[in-house]
Amino acid sequence: GSSPNSTSTNPPHSNQQPPEKTLKLLYWQAPTILNPHLSTGFKDSEASRITLEPLASFNHQLELVPFLAAEIPTLENGGIAKDGKSVTWKLKKDVKWSDGTPFTADDVIFTYQFITNPKVGTTTSGTYEIIKDIEKIDDHTIKINFKAVTPGWYSVFVGTEGMILPRHIFESYNGENSRQAPGNLKPVGTGPYRVVEFKPGDVVVYEANPNFREAKQLGFERLELKGGGDATSAARAVLQTGDADYSYNLQVESNILKSLESAGKGKIVSNFGTLMERIMINQTDPNKTTPDGERSSLKFPHPFFSDPKVREALSLAINREIIANQLYGILGKPTSNFVVNPPQVVSPNTTYQFDLEKAAKLLDEAGWKDTNNNGIRDKNGVEMNLVFQTSVNPLRQKTQEVIKQSLEQLGMKVELKSIDPSVYFSGDPANPDTTERFAADLQLFTTGNTNPDPTAYLKTYTCDQIPQKANSWTGDNFSRYCNPEYDTLWKLATTEIDPEKQKQIWIKMNDILVNNNIVIPLIHRAEVEGVNQKLTGVNLTPWDLTVWNIKDWKKTP
């Protein structure tokens, strides 16, 4: 059974509703809005994805699966223009919105207009900047014209950020009043289930959408997506007690997950996406301040991390195996690469190693010795004191502690700092504790490419992305690394239409970052889902949300 009461001592009320008819999803972060383009987190997109669909999505084999598209554009079928500057999509003809209105090309065009309207302020608009305009060929065909040659034509209207909104619902809210739109809270979509009730921050209740193309094949009459609480108890609910059938993103230490899983109610499904936990090394000195108060300024290179030997020693001093095995377990595996997915573009040329002796030797060679016998290496009066920051998260704090222990053995003094995530990732230019300001020597966090095309992701190490006071700390090159060779490669990659050549460029860029120890990749992280033993059809892909194929989910009684 799946309702919470089936575990209780009195069974009668579980007959009230056949449990197979209801699917209980548990998200420890609760959705607050059901418009993915206005949402502030994946939890919102997840809940929206049940009702809304993109044109197509990549599955985990990197094949495009059509949703609202009738077929996938290719060079062969003429969908992809030879010059790489446009793409033509054919849409399904028999699709209806959940309120019965037919779905047409106008909806796609409207969605583009809505996303890019600056007054609306959508969170996805950055992705759509590459589009010049969209032509409506007929009611079920559109042509997207790009501003430049665009090998990654599949980054728009595809996957997580590509969900199509109904024009007739949002038409009058395409402006400053977008937040009043009822469709934000009670969306009308083309997806398999539609929303019956939504309490922001708490629960979404769905029912089967009678207008869905394959309505007869749906596994459930009703879906309940409950939010709130913490990850551990969410895991407990699926794995140990069976109070829920599915739970999303279980960021729980693996030994706890394992012990919960042994109860037998559910199983853990890992999904190795693109997320990679990395240590960023500051190339500038966080302790020196410019006259106008700027720390980590390009004017002052880092006193010891600007030395490649020191960086190499640092990399050697990190025991990735221990971190992966003891802390992450099924949640991650050690990696030495910056780009970890899709597999085709992962570099085969890198390795990692844990060798404290070798690290010590490198430091000695570089002239960092403990001359004053205080246990800390120094050179020219500079002591190897460093601040290591990350966000508040048990796994990260433990990772920090493990690394700190090795570094202190090596003769560095490490101060750990953990910052509230809402501050750390806020991008607030006024706050010194953000990843952008990087007022520390090392920092730890996870990110990755959201799209199989890693070009945007690799851009984060180009010179013009360095956040400084001058550009009010915008830009993603937090390490403040600047290498003209790397920048040239990046430019090449954006215009290269030949997939094989483009792949080689990406790998080369990855190798520059890794072999120079500009970034220290630690863990290729898996997203872990808890799935009831009897729930079938869950098939995860790194390129879309976990409920992307919820129409195929079934539950054996």
Partner: protein, 298 residues
């Protein structure tokens, strides 16, 4: 006819102590408290294992001769962490209490003594603090002052100062109300008029005459405040606003243990017991002190 019975003159402290000694529970509380204090002060020196030492081979091992209270998931020795963490928790508890009591007494005393406009202004201020949502204020204060304090006092002392100021600074209101009410009644008593008649200044009236007489409710509030502060600190750790993660306070240990309740219950048991014993004995001492410090009760 009054006869003066010859006996040794006693000071208030001596009488109080005599009275206190008779209160068995209070005495037991004092002893436990002293033991705990002693343990956290000298314990870490005597107990050889470093609290930060990571040892994955021995992670999550139950209490044994090697690790008296077992180890956590990183293989760190729990007893060593408990002893070191106790230093922080106890000092935070006591210091935050002192801040709260000082602030509350000051505000309450001024409001109760001077009355009128000053009183109503201060009481409105108290209302304001009561209705402030504490979490955002915490976030702001810690954000605004963490860096400057770190520059002055170093990372651990800085955050320590901040936490006691913040926890204390948001818990003085009930004390202020209490002190004000006692002030209002005490200042009407004859001995205050008598002191005025010999020309005592306001300062003297407050410090010498009224304050000692409103002390006993304050002491009870103070003992309660220590417990609250220790627990608030654990909630702060839970929000990531507390000490650096490698400083194992009791609250933090309890928080870390919550996921291991089934597999390793001892992880929660000992910090929980430590908090409980401390709060319990402080309260017992407070109760005893209240009775003992009231000269009329002997």
């Amino acid at each position: 006819m009054t006869v003066i019975k010859p006996s040794q003159p006693r000071t208030l402290i001596q009488t109080a102590w005599r009275q206190f000694k008779r209160d068995k529970i209070a005495l037991l509380g004092t002893i436990i408290l002293l033991l705990i204090t002693l343990a956290v002060i000298i314990g870490p020196w005597i107990y050889g294992i470093r609290p930060t030492e990571i040892d994955f081979v021995n992670s999550l091992s139950p209490p044994s001769w090697k690790h008296l209270l077992g180890t956590n998931d990183l293989g760190q020795d729990q007893l060593a962490r408990l002893l070191i963490g106790g230093r922080v928790s106890l000092t935070v508890g006591v210091a935050a209490m002192v801040v709260a009591i000082l602030l509350g007494t000051l505000v309450g005393a001024i409001a109760g003594f001077y009355g009128g406009i000053i009183d109503s202004l201060l009481m409105r201020l108290t209302d304001l603090f009561i209705s402030l949502p504490q979490l955002p204020v915490l976030l702001l204060v810690i954000y605004l002052f963490r860096e400057p304090l770190k520059q002055i006092a170093g990372p651990e002392t800085g955050i320590f100062l901040l936490i006691i100021i913040v926890v204390g600074g948001l818990n003085w209101m009930s004390v202020a109300r209490l002190v004000r009410a006692s002030f209002l009644t005490t200042k009407e008593q004859d001995f205050i008029t008598a002191a005025k008649a010999i020309g005592a200044s306001s300062k003297r009236l407050i410090w010498v005459h009224i304050l000692p007489n409103v002390l006993s409710p304050v002491i009870v509030a103070a003992t309660l405040a220590v417990g609250t502060a220790i627990i608030t600190e654990s909630t702060l750790s839970f929000l990531g606003l507390g000490f650096p993660p490698d400083v194992p306070t009791w609250g933090r240990m309890l928080y870390d243990a919550q996921n291991y309740l089934e597999t390793a219950p001892y992880l929660a048991l000992f910090p929980g017991l430590a908090i409980f014993l401390t709060v319990l004995s402080i309260n017992a001492v407070g109760d005893g002190l209240r009775d003992a410090l009231d000269p009329q009760s002997h």
